[in-house]
């Protein structure tokens, strides 16, 4: 039944009316508006309402939730206002862990992508496949796998103790370090893939020319390779940064209850916190951070691509 509708659209080579294009796209758009875009608007509305006593909201306008995102009131005297240090600490942890994750992924991802891009054509697909398999493996399974490596009775600690390098296990679980390792582990493929795409397009003759003109390896890397793969770098960084800032599963499993990130703080408001408007305001804050990163990316890459065209 669904396919019958498409018959009208088939000879797409000829210019035609556009009405049926909307008709064909409609089922997808309706689902997306119902279960993706529409609910986002509702979150925005909820962030300006008053919390109900047992979760939910009371339909009374209030900016209190947005106020509480950044500030807190004294329990005894609501007029006494101070910065909400607990929230600010969580914002800072989220941003800083996301940035650190991005840097680690870049340091490991750049040589890895280069390695793949310089393999002979017939083995390249194999190395790419090796990168893609973890990428499509369930995030939870990968987090679980990392947990098995770094926990107190895990692979690292038992090996160290067996070798006699340490008497007691080194506590890695439930620390920021654990979250960092976990996020770098699960998001690394997101850095390698766009970097590889950029390197694959790289004109090797430019490197040759560099060496012909007596450039050292370092100069070739810094003055030829890096500028040319920069768009891939930026794309990879954004792709790692965005899920890192929105991370929920990794900090929950590896960070335990105390080392929360923004995602966990949001969830808390819908669970024990029972403050839906605050949760909604925090969710909007996260969205602003992500959209900000995206806009930076679009502006930045747009500019570098223009610059590249001028040179080309």
């Amino acid at each position: 039944m669904a396919i019958k509708q498409t018959s009208a659209a088939t000879p797409a080579a000829v210019p035609e009316r556009h009405g049926h294009k909307w008709l064909l796209s409609a089922p997808a758009l309706i689902i997306l508006i119902l279960a993706a875009s529409g609910p986002l608007l509702i979150v925005l509305v909820y962030s300006f309402l008053t919390p109900g006593n047992f979760g939910g909201v009371v339909w009374r306008f209030s900016t209190e939730a947005w106020f509480r995102v950044f500030f807190s009131r004294d329990i005894f005297d609501p007029e006494v206002v101070s910065l909400n240090h607990a929230h600010l600490a969580i914002f800072w942890r989220s941003v800083s862990l996301a940035l650190q994750t991005t840097v680690i992924c870049a340091i490991l991802g750049f040589p890895t992508a280069w390695f793949i891009a310089t393999r002979p054509q017939h083995t390249r697909a194999f190395w790419l496949f090796l990168i893609t398999i973890p990428f499509w493996t369930n995030l939870l399974i990968r987090t679980f796998a990392i947990q098995e490596v770094i926990r107190n009775q895990g692979l690292i600690n038992t090996t160290l103790m067996r070798l006699g390098l340490t008497d007691a296990p080194i506590q890695m679980m439930y620390t920021d370090f654990a979250i960092l390792v976990g996020m770098a582990y699960v998001f690394l493929p997101l850095m390698v893939l766009p970097l590889y795409a950029a390197m694959d397009k790289l004109d090797i003759r430019l490197i040759e020319a560099g060496y012909d003109l007596y450039a050292s390896r370092w100069q070739v890397l810094r003055r030829i390779v890096l500028p040319l793969v920069k768009p891939g770098f930026v794309a990879g960084s954004i792709l790692v940064f965005i899920p890192s800032i929105g991370a929920f599963v990794t900090p929950r499993v590896l960070g335990g209850g105390r080392n929360m990130m923004l995602g966990n703080l949001i969830e808390l408001q819908f669970g024990q916190g029972r403050n839906w408007p605050l949760g909604a305001a925090l969710a909007m804050t996260m969205l602003v951070l992500v959209v900000g990163a995206l806009i930076f990316y679009i502006r930045y890459v747009g500019r570098t691509e223009d610059a590249g065209r001028e040179h080309g």
């Binding site: 000879p11 064909l24 993706a36 040589p111 890895t112 369930n138 098995e148 599963v249």
Partner: protein
């Protein structure tokens, strides 16, 4: 083509693409990527209840997983949800891809792209919270609390993943065949049925596979949307991870992993087929 030149030249002038230390870091990265996964798989076959001391090969934990009624239940629910959601997503994404590719630009095209790609850009926690609020309101109004919420949430999330390979396939397809069909007096429907559809089919199947893997992988959205008794395999695992875990979890994870690898391999084979 340009990609090939890199490898060819590498053979001729041997060290030109070599950068000191890069190979070592790259190989170390591959090792780091695979050590945790391989460890996980190996210890699922451990005869002991330990996840760090090897006590011999055994299938005890697979047996335990198969005999665990709850595991069976959540696995079946996950698979069912993935097939239904990815199937729906693939259907609507195919229609949308037919409408938005191989066409001159039209008004609102950018908006369609933005809507389709939205689930890729918004953090899952935010989408999860949004759906929690929205569905809670609907639940109060209608009293309905079935699997429909999870189905529509997963479908929306799978649409961009199903759409991409279908769009890619359509864009690389040979238009002359359809024109030839039209020249030979095929009706638009016949041309679609006998030319377009068979040609685009590998893309559609690839889209389905990708959507299937994504739905299986989705944990955050499910965690927020699910009602009591609607746990999927990932949310069940998330709940279990907070307790002391036994290698039974490794066995479940290994089976899950195998399923993803098979689906991704099929996706790769399908999307590499020449149009």
């Amino acid at each position: 083509m340009r990609g090939a030149s890199m490898a060819e030249r590498r053979v001729r002038s041997f060290s030109i693409t070599r950068l000191p230390g890069f190979g070592v870091i790259a190989l170390a990265t591959f090792v780091l990527l695979y050590v945790p996964i391989v460890t996980l798989v190996v210890f699922s076959f451990n005869a002991q209840a330990s996840m760090s001391t090897w006590g011999g090969f055994s299938l005890t934990w697979y047996e335990a997983a198969f005999n665990n009624r709850q595991v069976r239940e959540v696995s079946i629910r996950s698979l069912w949800l993935a097939v239904v959601a990815s199937g729906l997503a693939t259907m609507v994404a195919t229609l949308a891809a037919l409408a938005t590719t191989r066409t001159s630009r039209f008004r609102g095209q950018t908006m369609i792209y933005a809507l389709i790609n939205q689930p890729l850009m918004v953090p899952e926690v935010v989408t999860g919270v949004a759906l929690l609020i929205f569905f809670a309101a609907i639940r109060v109004q209608t009293g309905y609390s079935g699997m429909g919420y999870l189905v529509i949430a997963h479908t929306a999330f799978c649409i961009p993943f199903a759409y991409l390979p279908i769009k890619a396939r359509l864009e690389t397809m040979d238009l002359t065949l359809e024109r030839a069909a039209a020249d030979l007096y095929a009706s638009p429907w016949q041309a679609f049925r006998h030319i377009t559809l068979p040609l685009v089919m590998p893309g559609v199947m690839a889209g389905f596979m990708l959507g299937f893997v994504i739905s299986l992988d989705t944990v955050v959205i499910t965690e927020f949307v699910k009602a009591a008794g609607q746990d999927t395999l990932p949310t069940y695992m998330l709940g279990q991870l907070r307790r002391q875990v036994t290698p039974e979890m490794n066995a479940i994870a290994t089976l899950f992993l195998a399923l993803s690898v098979v689906a991704v391999t099929i996706f790769f084979v399908l999307s590499r087929k020449r149009a």
